[in-house]
């Protein structure tokens, strides 16, 4: 799975949470939760979405590695491509 495919899934899930957001303006190293004003409930729902779409179960202890778009993509990429 390529990074841009992963990004597409991430944006699709974020769009459900923040329908009004303009994703083209998000830079790779910004904190997504701050930029999109995502609370902990929405963030959990986002991770549940990742789990449903890609089958990755993200342990709570890893939440700290999922702050920016770049971090999330690389975290997912490492696991999805390992599974394949």
């Amino acid at each position: 799975m390529t990074d841009s495919e992963i990004k597409e899934i991430i944006f699709k899930l974020l769009k459900e949470i923040a329908p009004e957001a303009d994703f083209s303006e998000i830079t790779p190293n910004e904190n997504i939760r701050e930029v999109l004003d995502i609370d902990s409930f929405d963030f959990l729902n986002f991770l549940i979405g990742i789990n449903a779409e890609l089958g990755i179960d993200i342990p709570e202890s890893d939440y700290g590695q999922l702050r920016t778009l770049a971090e999330i993509v690389s975290y997912i990429s490492a696991r999805v491509n390992l599974n394949q």
């Binding site: 699709k12 923040a18 939760r33 004003d37 902990s40 991770l47 979405g49 789990n51 449903a52 993200i58």
Partner: protein, 393 residues
């Protein structure tokens, strides 16, 4: 005959617009049934009935805006000779709509469709989306609205004006919600002599419990720290009941039940505070599920009237935004608001040792007419104690 009235969904509500009746004359209703949809400053709200009986007469027609307390319909009750098969006392009505199943995913819906659905009183969970990835789009909502009109038989003698034309645009709803908040908060600041207390609570034990619990769970079943804070608040209120109630007619009415109102901010601005019924009696899982349900209902505009009317205290958790301390404004006629900030690692001295601990600042804004600082400080201390014994929550 019982009069079914426009309910007051909070101190800030003056009137509401009847959007739709879900019942017609002759229909049997049970306590807890949703029988009407009402548009308010807080969005479209499902209104429940509080008596068992049979709808005798519909008085207010869809599209009519009436003040709080106006009679909307007349209901013949059991005493008047209407046989009721199974009258049941519903403490917390079992919702019959699919929306109340533990919802694991957001409904995919375009913002336009969501707004339209709210305006038309369409339950999004009942719509099958035809957009990308099954997303609900405007056309799907319009189709659902059409079907609803066809499926729902309207008694011929009732002349029903289409609710669509009487609806105001969403921008107006936003403005009205702002005005409603302004009215309630102005009243609060004008009438309630607030006092504020703050304490710092070591969350190590509570978060350890949460972590251990969450490790055993799949991602869908994980709990958030807010659940612990809410449960601990409810238990502490059981010990300090004077903070759980209403200030009415110059006296404190302590409430026996503990319904914690949970402030939910809306993305488009504004705030809704639905209640978690009997919070002290619920397990952490039940509270988490309830919060999930309330957040989804709040954001999709489909709360039930009882969820808005009867909070006995409010909790506001601003920890997600990064602030450390909340000085709340009490929602009248309640007499207390408990605030939590962000859980942050801090140096913490205990038993002559300094360590790094996750700390949350808990605040109490309380009505000085109802309680004094001494009682308030006992509450915060009790709250702290429950969070130190998190395994008992």
């Amino acid at each position: 005959m019982v009069e079914f009235r426009m309910p007051s969904l909070g101190a800030d509500m003056e009137k509401g617009t009847l959007v739709e009746w879900y019942v017609k004359p002759g229909d049997s209703v049970k306590r807890g049934d949703i029988i009407a949809l009402v548009e308010t400053d807080k969005g479209a709200i499902d209104i429940e009935v509080f008596d068992d009986g049979v709808i005798d007469k519909i008085i207010v027609q869809p599209g009519d805006e009436v003040p709080v307390g106006s009679v909307l319909a007349l209901i013949r009750t059991e005493k008047e000779g209407v046989p009721i098969v199974e009258p049941r006392a519903v403490e917390e009505p079992k919702p019959e709509k699919p929306m109340t199943k533990p919802v694991e995913k957001h409904i995919r819906v375009s913002p336009l469709a969501r707004k339209l659905a709210t305006e038309l009183g369409i339950d999004l969970s009942l719509i099958k989306g035809t957009g990308p990835g099954g997303a609900i789009e405007r056309a799907d909502v319009e189709r659902a609205a059409e079907e609803k009109k066809i499926v729902k038989p309207v008694p011929p003698e009732e002349e029903v004006s289409p609710p669509v034309t009487t609806q105001k645009p969403p921008a107006d709803l936003k403005a009205r919600m702002r005005r409603a908040i302004a009215a309630a908060m102005s009243r609060s600041n004008r009438e309630i002599p607030h006092y504020y207390l703050e304490t710092h609570i070591d969350m190590s034990s509570a978060l350890r419990r949460l972590e251990a619990e969450n490790q055993k769970r799949s991602i869908k079943e994980r709990l958030l720290p807010a659940v612990l804070l809410i449960k601990a608040t409810a238990l502490a209120l059981k010990d300090i009941p004077e903070l759980n109630g209403y200030w009415v007619d110059d006296r404190l009415e302590v409430q026996e039940v503990i319904h914690v109102g949970f402030a939910i901010s809306l993305r488009q601005g504004g705030l809704v505070i639905p209640a978690i019924h009997n919070t002290d009696l619920k397990s952490l899982d039940e509270i988490m599920e309830k919060m999930r349900d309330l957040i989804i209902r709040t954001r999709s505009g489909h709360l039930r009237s009882s969820q808005l009317t009867d909070a006995t205290v409010t909790v506001t958790n601003l920890g997600d935004t990064g602030v450390e301390t909340v000085f709340g404004v009490i929602y009248p006629p309640q007499v207390a608001l408990v605030g939590f900030g962000k859980i942050t690692e801090k140096p913490w001295a205990e038993n002559g040792m300094i360590g790094i601990r996750p700390i949350v600042n808990a605040t109490l804004a309380a009505d000085h007419r109802a309680t004094d600082g001494h009682r308030g400080s006992q509450f915060l201390e009790t709250l702290n104690r429950y969070l130190q014994e998190a395994e008992k929550l």
